[in-house]
Amino acid sequence: MRGGKSVMYMRKTFILACVLGFSQAAPAQEQKFGEKATQADIDKRFWSVFPDGENLPAGQGTAVAGAELFEDNCHACHTNPPGESSEFDPEDAADVLFGGHGTIGTDNALATIGSYWPHPTTVFNYVRRAMPYTAPMSLTNSEYYAITAYLLYKNEIIAENDVINKDTLPKVEMPNRDAFLNAYPEIPEKYRTK
């Protein structure tokens, strides 16, 4: 009859557990299963750089060096014109990077780094983490600074020999920097439907 006893015991334990369960529910027990994250854990996963320069790395480059890197790593995709078919969404093509100045607000808006992007740090932030498309993070920080410099130079925002690094990049003034209106939590009254 050991089995019977065991069942009885389990039942009693179960009832006891229920009672305890209720009594413990009153002061909420916090669940804590996170482990301490080391600096190495963070550095591996955190690639963001900010408009004020936060988290920009050491290194530097100019458009002169960037021109060659662009030819070798970027040019193949960034020359394709967007397709015409309505099945193809230009959103999904490689971006047009230069030109389009003065087109924003017209029916032929062409949003490029020069005509649209409000922050220079976004260029470095995105290109370093995501480009070249088939081999992101494969270049050095100085090479990414050089490509950033080339993209800004080709958009007539900086000069060919301007040095771009963690101190100079945040100070670059983008042409379209004042055009963005915050829409969270509510979009400005003027653009709501009547």
């Binding site: 299963f33 996963r45 999904d92 607000g105 995501a130």
Partner: protein, 431 residues
């Protein structure tokens, strides 16, 4: 089931112009359907040796598979993939949900729309961790198995890309690619995960924190800034979709889910959550997913999806072959909360009738509506108009374009129109 067409409808059941009937009609037809099923069963009884039976009745079927698939006759119900330009390559992988072929409110996981800007990574869950760091008392990390220990929440939510219906802004001729191009970037699922607030509380968020910068583990480390009030409200780290682990294209093994926000903010394969006092101004919140206005300005952080609806049947994927009583049905949703009302018009918006809003209605989830319609063989323009619990009413296309211009690209949410001609052919039109 064909009894629906022979049910006698009183002329007083007319609810709006051009044949829209009262939703009360559904109560009568439900009774008629039940009666048909009961009497229909005795007709199935057979005697004799099965002459004239189909093969599937006469022979045992296949063994059950480990993971079930759709019928071999349903293989056409698939996502529409983005076609690259001739000789070119796409910079992202996108698939659109065939809403015109589906019913209910839950999108099958394999048909959930997807936009993956840098392809779909094959993340090994044993090597994946998410860290919370920045303005916190204790930087912490979690793997999938760690997160499995927490009390979870399970909720139904829609997800919509803010580029959904973008063709209707500026493309001069209304798109006729069924619903793929116009509405294929919205889907609905049951999501299960750990509230993001639980993890943020454990790390201890510092005073003055305003944003969370989420980064994914894909080959673009896609990143977005999420307002901290949202993160502490209903955002979650999702592990399951429709009862099973989320699929690779949806962020396996873990993703951020920001209910009601534009899909891109729900960062997939999430591995870093940086708590800070400012947005990062990533590519996807500056160059993309900002709405260009007619005056040269742009809306940024237009995060909440608008109140919107669309008729999913009938559409230009079907035609009306004979006059009679049809059901008009579709989906409505709002990023702000619950859908409270859907009106339908059969005369291009001159008159409107209330559709039946099918419950239970979940906040920030697709909601199904239905209304009976007597088609008398005359031309019609079918439209739906949704209202949410905050009083947001879906605008006309004219009103939306007047407010923002034609170049906004994102957040198109106006009333959608299907024209029916006298022969029963259906087209997407601007009306």
């Amino acid at each position: 089931m064909t009894d629906k067409k022979t049910t006698i409808v009183d002329a007083t059941d007319q609810a709006a112009g051009n044949g829209l009937m009262s939703r009360r009609f559904f109560m009568n037809s439900a009774l008629a359907t039940t009666a048909t099923l009961v009497t229909g069963q005795s007709a199935l009884a057979q005697e004799g040796v099965g002459v004239g039976q189909e093969d599937w009745t006469l022979y045992p079927g296949d063994d059950t598979p480990e993971y079930g698939d759709v019928s071999q006759f349903e293989k056409g119900r698939v996502k529409k993939l983005v076609a690259p330009p001739a000789g070119g390559r796409t910079a992202s992988s996108a698939g659109r949900t065939p809403l015109h072929m589906l019913h209910g409110t839950i999108t099958p996981s394999g048909l959930h729309f997807e936009v993956s800007h840098h392809g779909v990574p094959a993340v090994d869950p044993d090597k994946h961790k998410v860290v919370i760091h920045g303005m916190v008392d204790r930087p912490l990390k979690w793997g999938v198995e760690d997160l499995e220990n927490y009390s979870t929440v399970t909720r139904n939510y829609f997800m919509e890309c803010s580029g959904n219906t973008r063709v209707n802004w500026a493309v001069p001729k209304p798109d006729q690619n069924f619903m793929y191009m116009t509405h294929g970037l919205v889907s609905g699922s049951e999501w299960t995960g750990v509230p993001l607030s639980t993890l943020l509380d454990e790390a201890g968020v510092s005073k003055g924190a305003k944003w969370i910068i989420a980064e994914g583990g894909d080959s673009g480390s896609l990143s977005r800034s999420i307002p901290i009030d949202k993160a502490m409200d209903d955002s979650m780290v999702a592990l399951y979709q429709n009862g099973e682990r989320i699929r690779p294209s949806q962020g396996y093994p873990m993703r951020i889910l920001n209910p009601g926000f534009e899909g891109n903010t729900s960062v997939k394969w999430v591995r870093s959550l940086y708590v800070t006092d400012k947005p990062v101004m990533s590519r996807f919140e500056t160059s993309k997913y900002t709405d260009k206005l007619h005056d040269g300005k742009s809306l940024q952080f237009s995060l909440e999806m608008d109140c919107k609806s669309v008729i999913t049947r009938p559409t230009n994927a079907v035609e009306l072959k004979k006059k009679g009583m049809y059901e008009i049905t579709g989906l409505a949703w709002s990023g702000k909360g619950k859908i409270t009302r859907v009106e339908v018009s059969a005369d291009g918006g001159r008159t409107w009738a209330d559709a039946l809003v099918e419950g239970p209605v979940h906040s920030k989830m697709l909601t199904r509506f239905r209304i009976p319609w007597m088609w008398k063989g005359r031309p019609a323009v079918l439209q739906s108009r949704a209202t949410d619990e905050h009083g947001q009413v879906q605008p006309s296309r004219k009103a939306l374009l007047a407010a923002r211009g034609k170049q906004a690209y994102y957040h198109y949410h106006a009333i959608h129109s299907w024209s029916v001609n006298a022969r029963g052919k259906i087209r997407h039109v601007y009306a």
